[in-house]
């Protein structure tokens, strides 16, 4: 039984995935990050197995990520935090433009396409991107490792898996 909210989110997720796929056709993919984070946010909300990445056996994942591209055109904060809706407290991902004043990890990347290659490549590898100067980080790298894993598992969403391969 799917509630109306979940059904609505699934529709939004499908739309988001479509836009994400369109974005892959653009040269620099400036909107890729926002679309990806939104997709992640929606999948966290509708997919219980995926949601375990941020809430599992009573442990919650609280973290703030700041992403910046080299041109300064993209600056996004992604925050995993608890949200109270009525009596229910659930872990959510919040995404907003602009940089939070403090974060667990800051990720600077050349452009959206480089970030896509990093997050969605068959063998995602943070060090490889650092070695090749496509990515720079500041802060706890373990958070980026986890994010890389979560982004990669988004590929299991039907439409994205085709694009990723």
């Amino acid at each position: 039984m799917i509630g109306p909210t979940t059904a609505y989110r699934k529709v939004r997720l499908r739309r988001c995935m479509s836009r994400l796929l369109d974005e892959l056709q653009s040269e620099f993919m400036d909107e890729f990050l926002l679309l990806l984070l939104n997709a992640m946010r929606l999948v966290l909300a509708v997919d219980a197995a995926y949601h375990r990445n941020i809430e599992y056996k009573g442990e919650t994942f609280n973290a703030t990520y700041v992403f910046r591209d080299a041109s300064g055109a993209v600056e996004v904060t992604a925050k995993f935090e608890p949200v109270r809706i009525g009596f229910i407290k659930r872990q959510r991902l919040r995404v907003r433009r602009g940089a939070a004043s403090s974060s667990d990890v800051e990720v600077m990347f050349v452009n959206g396409r480089a970030l896509w290659e990093f997050l969605m490549s068959p063998d995602p590898d943070v060090f490889d991107f650092i070695l090749n100067n496509k990515l720079q980080t500041r802060g706890n790298l373990n958070y980026l490792m986890k994010f890389g894993y979560m982004a990669n598992r988004l590929k299991e969403q039907p439409r994205l898996s085709a694009a990723a391969t």
């Binding site: 990445n53 050349v110 995602p124 590898d125 943070v126 490889d128 496509k134 986890k146």
Partner: protein, 846 residues
């Protein structure tokens, strides 16, 4: 005088040249299985083993609210793991126990760098470089249960928290380290790199060692010294850890009984609880203690040491009782070799570029002299070399010590034959130079004589040095790049060059080469200072959050002092600092010198060189031609007159001076070294051009070896390096105490490796190099064509072993850059002594 008891009639072991024919069927079957796994013919190949990570994490999580000292929490976690881990017997090996629950496993150490594979959890089984099988279920356990606990608790993150606000220079060092191309500090990933002392456990057994530790603890209780609480916790932790080993051993014994492995069960009913009485018991004890040490310490270069010495009394006793045959001795040694090779490192794919193809590099050392300075070569030395030859597997990393004044010629020839047969193993060490180097570092003569190799090539004393030999790996070419670019580096794609060192000398202010050398020294000092600062900070974190009570039981010092190894309990407490791009930087400095002298008065030659290097010499072909054909090169000329040799000597002395003045977290000195594993290939691939004429993205030179195709003959190559290992005033006499890797490639002899003329030429060259002062040399006996064919047709060469710049590796496991480095590495013809020309192969290389 070789100690002979068993090999009296057939010292050459010619009756055992073939596994099957020599009655060594068990080893043949074990080897077949080993090859099936490394070639992935069993379907899975090497497997990631999460058992340790899961059990250790469970225990640490449960103890989170406890106010117990960290050393006790760690000991409980190790005990919990050893007491509950898998006790499966995978094959017919005569020894019980395994590093992981898999036939060949890569264990996860999440407290160090285990989490670096997090993004690869779903792809590691099928990745291009060295895939390691991980089931979906185990990936989920790591993702949901194990890794989240360690997010903020790794050594690196604990260090970051500590220095972020309090120590800006060390924090800068941490940020530089995370850029990889300046320096890498091993402390975030490993300390290990030591040789434990097994003689005590063999003589006493663990029960007596536990009693002794308990007695020391009891003595602390009645002591009013303010440090006694800390000592009390330390001794408690050692007792807990040793009980963990006993629990593991008794469960293995029960399993052996159940499976009908009665001989193994019988051995385990006595050891490691009680003193070893037989050769089999002694080997089993060493192996179980090694496994237990890896439960606590990451499986990187934990080295069993001088096994031909440690096991000799038990071998001798068996022989005197008439209970040991050559076949049986070889079988037991072979079983130990396969056990030592039962694990490999867990690394992300990019680390395969930097450290590609490494196993866990456990070094075994044979030969040399004993603590009294007498010939230590014995039957076991020969049997271990023979087993190495017969099995020809990647691990253990076998090393042969040679003392020209004490060891017989027969032994040196036997070492040479093993190298020719295996084409790569063992590496050889000059006792006289190593012992003197260690003495110059303040090591007592008897301890120095008892040195063994850890990891790739680093000499340390057995059971008394906590040597942390991989504390720093510094990219010397970064200092050259920063010199040419006013302290800025690297050409980061996210923006302009970044000012790394605010202190620099502008090229416009330079008048002559000595000024350039001063500018280079400024950048070099900056990098060394920061790399050492961070290494020291990481050492402090290890002391606070990752004490090693179990390992401390197997050392001279900690038990007597009541101080953990990580806190300085060992008798000797050095750290190692190795360097990438040594010959490239020597050649670059020599090129700048030659070019500046040639162009004096014609503009600013230093700026001209910088512009050429920045452009990768495109549009500056005349400069490229000049530096390639007219500038001197390290290894390319006379050691007495060549300016490049003088520069190399200056650099070695300068680094010695910089490091020796610093102290690590345990109060010991840093020892400079020159080995590079495969980092010279990995870092070379991302490096810009250099004044030496090396173009951008080409591999750097390996270890302390002259750049490929520079040294025209063997004499030039050997003498250039020998002169650096032992020179004299005004610098230190032995300026490379941390060890070196001289990588030589010889044309194989086509007829037989027993050919006496070829063999004697081979061993004579080792002797000559050692007499000239050389410390170490290692060989790959392959020609350009074979290696090129192996690159193009890897399926034809599944078990081809080569020497990178330290350890041995399967050629097929190396990344393309490292394969190309090995192919283009100068090949020397033993008969003529000349380098064989490479040019006919150039078109087929990347």
């Amino acid at each position: 005088m070789v100690q002979r008891v068993l090999l009296t009639d057939d010292a050459d072991l010619s009756a055992f040249d073939d596994l099957a024919a020599g009655g060594l069927d068990r080893l043949q079957r074990l080897k077949n299985r080993y090859l099936e796994i490394v070639e992935r013919k069993n379907g899975r190949g090497v497997e990631v083993c999460i058992e340790r990570a899961r059990l250790i994490t469970d225990s640490m999580r449960d103890a989170e609210a406890s106010d117990e000292p960290m050393i006790l929490r760690r000991a409980r976690a190790i005990n919990h793991y050893l007491s509950n881990r898998d006790v499966t017997f995978h094959d017919e090996n005569l020894l019980a126990g395994a590093t992981t629950s898999k036939e060949m496993g890569a264990p996860v150490y999440p407290e160090l760098l285990g989490m670096s594979i997090w993004p690869e959890l779903d792809s590691i089984s099928e990745r291009t470089s060295n895939p390691q099988y991980l089931s979906r279920e185990n990936a989920n356990t790591l993702n949901l249960d194990v890794f989240p606990y360690w997010m903020e608790r790794t050594v690196l993150e604990q260090t970051r928290k500590r220095v972020e606000h309090e120590d800006p220079e060390t924090f800068l060092a941490l940020e530089l380290m995370e850029r990889v191309s300046f320096f890498i500090n091993g402390g975030g990933a490993t300390v290990s790199h030591v040789v434990p002392w097994f003689a005590d456990v063999l003589e006493k057994g663990l029960l007596r060692m536990i009693d002794e530790a308990a007695a020391r603890q009891a003595a602390c209780a009645s002591d009013s010294n303010p440090l006694s609480d800390r000592k009390d916790a330390f001794y408690q932790a050692t007792v807990l850890s040793m009980h963990g080993i006993l629990n593991y051993a008794s469960r293995l014994r029960d399993e052996a009984h159940q499976r009908g492995f009665h001989e193994i069960a019988e051995v385990l009913s006595r050891v490691p609880a009680h003193p070893a009485q037989t050769f089999h018991e002694a080997i089993q004890t060493v192996w179980l203690c090694h496994v237990a040490i890896l439960a606590e310490n990451v499986n990187m270069a934990m080295s069993p040491g001088r096994l031909d010495q440690v096991l000799w009394p038990y071998f001798l006793a068996d022989c005197e009782r008439g209970e040991l045959s050559i076949e049986r001795a070889l079988e037991l040694i072979g079983c130990l070799w396969f056990k030592i090779a039962d694990n490999t490192n867990l690394v992300p794919e990019s680390a395969e570029k930097m450290f590609g193809g490494a196993g866990s590099v456990p070094a075994v050392t044979v030969g040399g002299v004993d603590r009294n300075g007498e010939d230590a070569v014995n039957d076991l030395t020969f049997l271990m070399l023979h087993a190495t030859e017969l099995l020809c597997i990647r691990d253990p990393n076998v090393n042969a010590r040679i003392h020209l004044g004490k060891n017989p010629d027969e032994y040196v020839d036997r070492v040479a034959r093993t190298i020719l047969t295996t084409r790569a193993i063992p590496a050889v060490y000059n006792d006289e130079v190593v012992i003197a180097s260690l003495q110059e570092q303040g090591v007592d003569l008897e301890d120095a004589r008892d040195y063994a190799i850890v990891g790739c090539v680093e000499p340390t004393t057995s059971g008394s040095s906590y040597a942390e030999t991989s504390a720093v790996l510094l990219n010397l070419t970064a200092a050259m790049d920063m010199t040419l670019n006013e302290g800025k580096r690297p050409p980061f794609k996210l923006g302009d060059r970044e000012q790394i060192n605010p202190d620099f000398i502008s090229l416009t202010d330079l008048d002559a080469f000595p000024d350039f050398l001063q500018a280079f020294d400024l950048q070099l000092t900056f990098l060394v200072d920061h790399a050492v600062d961070l290494a020291t900070a990481l050492g402090e974190t290890h002391r606070d959050v990752l004490p090693v009570p179990l390992l401390s039981c197997f050392f001279v010092g900690p038990m007597e002092k009541g101080i953990d190894l990580s806190a300085g309990g060992a008798k000797y407490n050095s750290s190692g600092a190795t360097h990438v791009g040594f010959a490239d930087v020597c050649d670059s400095l020599a090129a700048v010198q030659a070019f500046s002298e040639q162009h004096a008065g014609n503009g600013n030659p230093f700026e001209m060189m910088r512009d050429a290097v920045d452009a990768d010499f495109i549009g500056h072909e005349s400069i490229l031609e000049f530096v390639r054909t007219r500038a001197p090169k390290f290894g390319g000329g006379s050691v007495d007159r060549d300016p490049a040799q003088a520069i190399a000597a200056w650099l070695v002395d300068r680094l010695y001076e910089l490091y020796q003045s610093k102290r690590n977290a345990r109060g010991g000195p840093y020892r400079p070294a020159y080995w590079t594993m495969t980092n010279h290939a990995g870092l070379g691939q991302i490096g810009g051009a250099l004044p030496s004429g090396r173009r951008a993205k080409q591999v750097f030179s390996s270890g302390i070896t002259p750049a490929s195709q520079v040294a025209p003959d063997l004499l030039a190559a050997y003498l250039a390096v020998a002169k650096l290992c032992r020179h004299g005033p005004p610098g230190p006499e032995y300026p490379v105490p941390g060890g070196i890797a001289l990588n030589m490639k010889y044309t194989p002899f086509v007829r037989s490796c027993r050919d006496s003329e070829y063999l004697s030429r081979f061993s004579d060259l080792i002797r000559g190099y050692f007499l000239a002062g050389g410390m170490q040399v290692q060989y790959t006996v392959q020609d350009y064509g074979t290696l090129l064919d192996a690159k193009l047709n890897p399926e034809r060469y599944p078990d081809l072993i080569v020497r990178v710049s330290g350890y041995s590796a399967f050629f097929k496991d190396l990344n393309e850059a490292m394969q190309d480095e090995l192919i283009t590495r100068s090949q020397y013809d033993l008969h003529s002594g000349k380098a064989v020309l490479l040019r006919q192969y150039k078109g087929e290389l990347t």
